[in-house]
């Protein structure tokens, strides 16, 4: 009994929960910065730099502005972070996971909104006008990518379900891929995979889709008043979101590769996540300037939505 409880706590706090997610997230953020630096002919910081930044911020003084609602302002980053970590517990790592019977793909779509909403509410509670603009843009970004994202999920669910049925269970998606090969090898799913790759940067908020936090024009938007430990939490949130989104992509489209050894699977997962990070976020960051908010919205509701709708329609025709 005690052993079981300890095992569950281990799952929640160490692997695949809290600690694992934090370490992987910070690692991915470091890789992102390093590769980007090389693209721009710079040397770049060491790969563990995000961890240093995090530790440094944790030790700094926290300042709460007078116009802010103190409780909400301080609680928002922690709640958003907890929401993210719990989400990771529901995503099976190559079929491994203790809690993935508690939530499925549709629920995940909504759990994804919790960290974004925490950022918005936190920024809103700071009472700063720049934060006001920032949260408005964050919200529009969210409206922009949720539309294609749901279609990607529906296409996957339809493809994985047998004839006349469907499955939102992530474990089923994983098992299906073990039998039938990764979803990305089914050509009808390729548009959806591309759409998902384009959704990841907007969800994480990296350039060129970082309109909400545009440092050069609105001083990091929702984060403008944050300092010290809450800011560290938000930075960690971004890093962890990077990992979770790439892990989700891996689970959805590159699943089915398993060695049977959990630790090896985890290493493969992190390697694939790093690859996806470089392919989507770093590459786009390296070659594109920041979009305007109305262009961003139009891009997602036309190009990306069309890609995912194409996949949905193809899957619907039984391809």
């Amino acid at each position: 009994m005690i052993q079981d409880t300890l095992m569950v706590l281990f799952h929640i706090l160490v692997f695949p929960g809290l600690l694992f997610v934090c370490v992987c997230g910070l690692l991915l953020a470091g890789i992102d910065r390093k590769v980007l630096a090389h693209m721009q002919k710079r040397v770049g910081p060491p790969i563990v730099q995000p961890l240093y930044d995090f530790l440094k911020l944790m030790g700094k003084e926290t300042i709460v502005p007078q116009a802010a609602n103190r409780t909400v302002f301080l609680a928002a980053p922690v709640i958003g972070f907890a929401g993210l970590v719990v989400m990771m517990l529901f995503i099976p790592v190559f079929g491994y996971g203790t809690f993935n019977g508690s939530a499925d793909l549709i629920v995940l779509l909504y759990l994804l909104t919790i960290p974004a909403v925490a950022l918005i509410i936190g920024g809103s509670a700071s009472g700063n006008p720049y934060a006001g603009i920032g949260i408005s843009r964050e919200m529009v970004t969210m409206m922009a990518y949720e539309f294609p994202l749901i279609m990607v999920f529906l296409a996957v669910a339809r493809k994985v379900g047998s004839v006349g049925a469907l499955s939102f269970s992530m474990l089923n998606i994983e098992k299906w891929q073990q039998v039938n090969g990764s979803l990305i090898t089914h050509w009808a799913m390729i548009p959806a995979a591309i759409a998902m790759l384009l959704i990841i940067p907007a969800e994480v908020g990296t350039q060129p889709f970082d309109v909400a936090e545009a440092e050069t024009e609105i001083c990091e938007g929702p984060l403008v008043e944050y300092s010290g430990a809450p800011l560290a939490m938000f930075k960690l949130n971004t890093a962890v979101r990077m990992f979770i989104m790439t892990a989700l992509f891996t689970m959805l489209f590159l699943g089915g590769i398993t060695t049977g050894m959990v630790w090896l699977d985890a290493i493969i997962l992190v390697a694939i996540c790093a690859l996806v990070t470089v392919c989507t976020m770093t590459l786009l960051h390296g070659i594109c300037a920041r979009l305007k908010i109305e262009h961003l919205f139009k891009f997602y509701w036309t190009v990306v939505a069309a890609l995912s709708l194409l996949s949905l329609a193809l899957v619907w025709c039984g391809l």
């Binding site: 116009a67 508690s102 809103s124 509670a125 700071s126 408005s136």
Partner: protein, 640 residues
């Protein structure tokens, strides 16, 4: 007194209470309030004591006025009949009415003519209970008439304001048009079937589609759709809900349009039993999808708190109708669940809007800001309500929307029709847009910059906070324990709706339904998606605690408040501010999301043009809606 008499006594007591106030309550505020509360509590006791026999033991209560029982299988008298579906809505209505009554004690303390308010309020309550508990289609029409007229009068309650009178007028005109549709439908039905009893009508009309019955169906469907304010009949809503006092706005969106939904369910599932026809399903889902999308986009363009809530009411009714229009067990479950959840969170949000109005004297988003530090209770309740309506887990709105997504997508897969899959997509997008417009309210009213003219604002009195807190707790409870809600409220109601035999037999005598050849539908609830809010909550709390412990080990001198106003700067930070005043925000509440609005400029131009505010146009839309439904039904049901 046996519980057979409870339904009719509950309805009568409400009317008697209303008349008593009208006679004795003039200029006596306390007496009016006292009579109203006692009557309401009495009706509550009667209705809730039916929970055990009806829901737990599955009894269907039938009561014949004056003992006029059916003779030789023909119903002549007026009957009251309470099955699980009726009781589901009756309990919902009683709860919302009671909350509204408690709230109005302090909320209306500055208003005069309270005896009129309570008279009308009790009559409205009696009419609402009558609608859901009657077994007679003409009696239902009469109750709907009483509902419409009392609601119009209550909408115009603050009649010293021009907008209230205008709203009351619009409500009255459109409401009368709707009542006209319903009455014509009832008349046609009476001509065809020679009976007004719903149980008997159900056996006569089942599978009996000819031009007369279909025309009656179209008329009544339009009439009830107007009462639940679906597109294109939604037009009086924004004015009515925003001009009415918040306690009435809450009744409007929490119980009045639920009666419309109830009547639609009775009409489609029980009276005509048309839900097996793909054409009717398509029509209802189409109306629902359009309603939810147009409602939410119009809400995004609003800059008045209550008006925004009104458009969200329309949009959420779209969800409900989409779900019940699927004609599947899970769709109906999701629809009923969303209906009850909508009453909770929208009632809560209206009460919050009322609290803001009470404290700050306005609900204009461009003139509010920074109230969260002055009104922490209201802010907290508002955030719960806003997250519930936007479907953030683990609140109740998520649980019901999640069922609706499943239901629509399942329908898409089983029928192979990609249109239903697009309805799922629309539902999700609408949900995000709902979140967006509530973020706008949060930012513009509760957070953001504090306005100097609002410095004297205080938290509302405790008696107003009580209903808000109760409703927020219910939002959380229904979201986390949706299985219990399903077992004790939704499953019985859905079972009663899909298995009409019990309803007919209780009224007309044993085996009446089987003898008249009604097909028996078997009900099997199928959930293929899964969501365990309790596990999520436990995990969330554990992670939260762990993170909290880590945070606490760090810097100890944290969270100090910085005076970022120049005049209070201390030495340490003066370098950064050097006596400058902090920046005012140029972004008003209605300016948020301009990037989105810019992309949708053409769409907004068209849709806002349609909502012209002219009653003649609105009546024209209603008639066009009736024409559309009639033609649709004739072409796709009769023309098959």
């Amino acid at each position: 007194m046996s519980h057979i008499h409870f339904p009719v006594v509950a309805v009568m007591s409400m009317f008697v209470g209303g008349f008593l106030i009208a006679i004795f309550g003039a200029k006596r505020r306390k007496l009016s309030q006292g009579i109203a509360l006692v009557t309401m509590l009495f009706a509550d006791v009667l209705v809730y004591s039916l929970f055990s026999p009806v829901i737990l033991h599955g009894e269907v209560i039938s009561y014949w006025m004056g003992g006029w029982k059916p003779v030789e299988g023909y119903a002549i008298g007026i009957g009251y009949e309470v099955d699980q579906l009726s009781l589901f809505f009756a309990m919902l209505i009683c709860f919302v009415l009671t909350m509204s009554m408690i709230y109005s004690i302090r909320y209306l303390e500055k208003d005069s003519a309270l005896d009129h308010y309570y008279t009308l309020n009790l009559m409205l309550g009696g009419a609402l209970l009558g609608i859901v508990m009657t077994g007679d289609i003409f009696n239902m029409f009469i109750m709907i008439e009483i509902m419409t007229f009392t609601a119009a009068a209550l909408t115009a309650f603050r009649n010293h304001k021009a907008i209230s009178v205008e709203a009351g007028f619009k409500y009255l005109v459109l409401g009368s048009v709707g009542s006209g549709f319903i009455l014509s439908g009832v008349a046609v039905l009476y001509g065809v079937a020679h009976t007004l009893n719903m149980a008997q009508l159900s056996t006569v009309l089942s599978q009996n589609y000819n031009p007369s019955t279909i025309f009656a169906f179209a008329l009544m469907f339009s009439g009830y759709a107007l009462k639940s304010f679906l597109m294109p009949f939604h037009t009086p809503v924004p004015d009515a809900y925003s001009a009415a006092p918040a306690s009435i706005g809450m009744l409007h969106s929490g119980s009045l349009n639920k009666c419309g939904i109830y009547a639609l369910i009775r009409l489609t599932y029980i009276l005509f039993r048309v839900m097996g026809l793909p054409a009717v399903q398509t029509m209802m889902v189409l109306i629902g999808a359009v309603t939810m999308f147009v409602g939410v986009t119009m809400a995004l363009a609003q800059h008045d708190f209550k008006r925004l809530l009104a458009f969200h009411s329309i949009s959420q009714m779209g969800y409900v109708v989409t779900a019940i229009g699927l004609g599947t067990a899970i769709g109906l479950t999701g629809g009923l669940f969303h209906a009850i959840n909508h009453s909770m969170f929208k009632g809560l949000l209206f009460l919050c809007a009322g609290a803001v109005y009470y404290a700050a004297g306005t609900t204009d988003l461009d003139r509010l800001g920074g109230l969260s530090r002055k009104m922490p209770w209201t802010t907290c309740c508002f955030i719960v309500g806003a997250f519930s309506i936007s479907g953030i887990p683990p609140f109740n709105g998520f649980a019901s929307k999640w069922m609706i997504y499943q239901a629509t997508y399942q329908k898409a897969v089983t029928t192979g029709n990609i249109g239903y899959a697009l309805v799922t997509v629309i539902a999700v997008v609408v949900s995000v847009m709902t979140l967006a417009s509530f973020i706008k309210v949060t930012q513009a009213v509760f957070f953001g910059q504090e306005r100097p003219q609002l410095s004297a604002v205080r938290e509302v009195p405790a008696l107003m906070r009580v209903p808000m807190v109760i409703m927020s707790l219910i939002c959380v409870l229904f979201g986390t324990c949706y299985n219990l809600v399903n077992d004790f409220l939704l499953y019985p109601a859905v079972y009663a709706t899909l298995n009409t035999h019990g309803y007919v037999d209780a009224m007309m005598g044993k085996n009446y339904a089987a003898a008249s050849g009604m097909p028996f539908v078997k009900y099997e609830p199928v959930q293929f998606s899964f969501w365990n809010p309790v596990t999520w909550l436990v995990l969330f709390v554990i992670v939260l605690l762990a993170v909290f412990v880590v945070m606490m080990t760090g810097e100890s001198d944290r969270g100090r408040v910085l005076a970022n106003k120049g005049e209070e700067a201390d030495g340490k930070f003066a370098t950064f501010f050097s006596g400058e005043k902090s920046l005012p925000s140029h972004v008003g509440g209605s300016d948020l999301f301009w990037g989105f609005k810019k992309d949708f400029k053409k769409y907004f131009k068209v849709v806002q043009g349609i909502h012209s505010g002219i009653v003649n146009d609105y009546v024209l839309y209603a008639v066009c809606g009736l024409a559309f439904i009639t033609v649709f039904m004739f072409v796709f049901v009769l023309g098959r």
